[in-house]
Amino acid sequence: MSTNDRRRFMTKVGALTGALLAVSMVSGMGSAFAEDFPTAKVNTTKLAVTDKTVKVGILHSATGTMAISETGSIQAEKLAIAQINEMGGVLGRKIEIIQEDGASDWPTFAEKSKKLLENDKVAAVFGCWTSASRKAALPVFEKDNGLLFYPTFYEGLEQSKNVFYTGQEATQQILAGLDWIAKEKKAKTFYLIGSDYIWPRTSMKIARKHIEQHLGGKVVGEEYIALGDTQFGSVINKIKLKKPDVIYAAVVGGSNVAWFKQLNAAGLNSSKQTMLTISVTEDEVLGIGGENLAGFYSAMKYFQSLKNPNNEKFVADFKKMWGPKAVIGDVTQAAYLGPWLWKAAVERAGSFDVDKAVVALPGYELKTAPEGYVKVDPNHHLWSKLRIGKWRADGQADVVYESELIKPDPFPKGYQ
């Protein structure tokens, strides 16, 4: 080991000890700790880092159609950041939030990303929700070498140096769920229905391959509904004619509510029809109404009702900050992981520099995650479990199945 190497090694050890210390430290002592990490050293790329603070961005839609879904993510990220600050911040620096509104408009996401990265020089951004908004912002992050933590479960087929994906990619959400329903419900025939855009279409493609090639089942119908469409009469009649064992659904937004309401009104409730959906979380239940969902299944990695100490604390903290009526869905939990993972990355690297933080994160295990345990894979996605929840009329789900930890596989062979 040359002197140079040793020095680098010692810095790393220092960083790690520092990180451990930071965890045990209370606020107020943070500034003393920051002196161990002189700004000139932890920030060689002119990010907005001072001796006392570090700026990060939150970029979600607070207005427009997507505000319904993205509000939960904003709340979770703010909660995580508040908690990190209470513990003394990151490398002794308090996190300051610059929040921008993507306004449910994809070009706006790109513009605001540019503003956050080039004008505000934020060290990391927690944001984007729909794939369209991420695809719009991605080139900006790659050009300006920013760091994005993206919370939503999505279709996969993407991997970027500048992005960490804290939600599930498609195979993590689909395969284990289909295996379960095929085994548990002896399902042979499936009816696939989704909204008409990239995520449901990619997901259904994977689902169809899995059903036909691995489960020996049959897809008796595949259907896509225009976004925002609220008339399901004809589709429901087709389903009645085909009588599938399972409806596999990925309908989103306003259509989702109409879909469940009309399904029930047409007599297809859970006593007559099995349905597994990959697009209903606690957030959606608010709009759909628990009574329309009771008995149907969702495949997610997180449910608010999960019983483990991490989650009980998380739910309590979330309600304390955002009110007792707040509900927490799958993506909200994934968004909560973002700031914690970023903190871990920076502390493992001993630096806010994106290049250093990015290589430091893979392999990291977050044991305090509300979903239980996650591990960062070298492909920038998380190892996570899949859970099947059975909805109750009160809008919460009973977890009826939990898989092993599943390795993320954003480019699944044989499924494309």
Partner: protein
């Protein structure tokens, strides 16, 4: 036939026929208010969807009250009336403060009402939250009616259908059997002449606009039985509303009904035989084709311009 028994096919045809009628009544309810505002007055009201949202939120709020005070079974009829009154009142106000200054500038009306719709959406978001909410529905509106064990007729669909019939009948009485209707039609046909024979055309405008908004409010209340309510719910309906009115021939109320019926049946049948999105595409293409041949819509009015 195709591996299904005749009984099965018969059942599906009954339910499919009902699905088409149900879609017809939804489209009709959406479009009636706009047919009055756009068709009769020529005002392009981009905020029409937001007046539906007013009706929907009224219902949701009243349902909360109803749950708290235990009159869930009766509130819905009441909610429809309140939705109408509220949307009517706000429409009246909007006409007075905004629309009446823009009658001679139709394109500016488009911009102004679009701005208004954005403002209203943000007001909804700030006051009711960004998340979608649902009204607590009375028992008698839930579930399905089963004439035979294999046929399910959704009760909310029957309800919307009945409401559409009542509202349409009401609009016809108002437009063609009342003094007010006479004045409205006179103003539409020849504003100057109507003024000359002593009709207060400004007042007629205001009431007509408010009436259109009120009907939108009723539609919004009815749609809480089918879908949820959020700040941007109105944007889901506005395109379909305009499509029905334009396709029917802007100035003709009968055209609006015929067009709603045609579009609904075409869409529901095509969606049964094709996939849902392809069915919609085919319907839209047909409409575009017909409009190219008949730019005035199905029922062109013979108004002297």
């Amino acid at each position: 036939m195709f591996g299904y028994s005749m009984a099965e096919i018969g059942n599906i045809m009954v339910m499919q026929g009902f699905a088409g009628l149900s879609m017809f009544s939804v489209l009709l309810l959406m479009a009636l208010g706009l047919a009055i505002i756009f068709g009769q007055m020529g005002v392009i009201n981009m905020a029409h969807g937001e007046f539906m949202t007013i009706g929907a939120y009224t219902t949701v709020m009243l349902s909360k009250l109803a749950v708290a005070y235990g009159f869930v079974n009766y509130y819905f009829i009441f909610a429809i009336i309140v939705a109408f009154v509220l949307a009517f009142a706000i429409g009246y106000l909007v006409e007075f403060t905004l629309i009446r200054h823009l009658y001679k500038r139709p394109l500016d009306t488009l911009l102004a009402t679009w701005g208004l719709s954005l403002v209203m959406q943000q007001i909804f978001r700030s006051s009711f939250g960004a998340k979608e909410v649902s009204a607590e529905l009375p028992e008698w509106l839930l579930g399905s009616f089963q004439p035979t064990p294999d046929i399910d007729i959704p009760i909310n669909g029957v309800f919307v259908m009945g409401l559409a019939a009542v509202v349409t009948f009401g609009v016809f009485l108002f437009m063609f059997r009342s003094q007010w209707g006479l004045r409205v039609r006179a103003t539409v046909q020849n504003r100057v002449m109507a003024g000359a024979v002593g009709i207060n055309t400004k007042k007629v405008d205001r009431v007509t606009f408010a009436l259109g908004c009120g009907i939108a409010g009723v539609a919004g209340a009815a749609f809480t039985t089918i879908a949820s309510t959020g700040p941007t719910t109105g944007t889901l309906y506005i395109v379909d509303s305009f499509m029905v009115v334009v396709f029917g021939g802007a100035a003709s109320l009968f055209g609006t009904i015929a067009s709603a019926f045609g579009i609904a049946q075409a869409q529901s049948i095509l969606q049964f035989f094709m996939t849902s999105s392809m069915g919609k595409v085919a319907t839209l293409l047909t409409i575009v084709g017909i409009l190219m041949m008949r730019p005035e819509g199905l029922f062109a009015s013979k108004v002297r311009k």
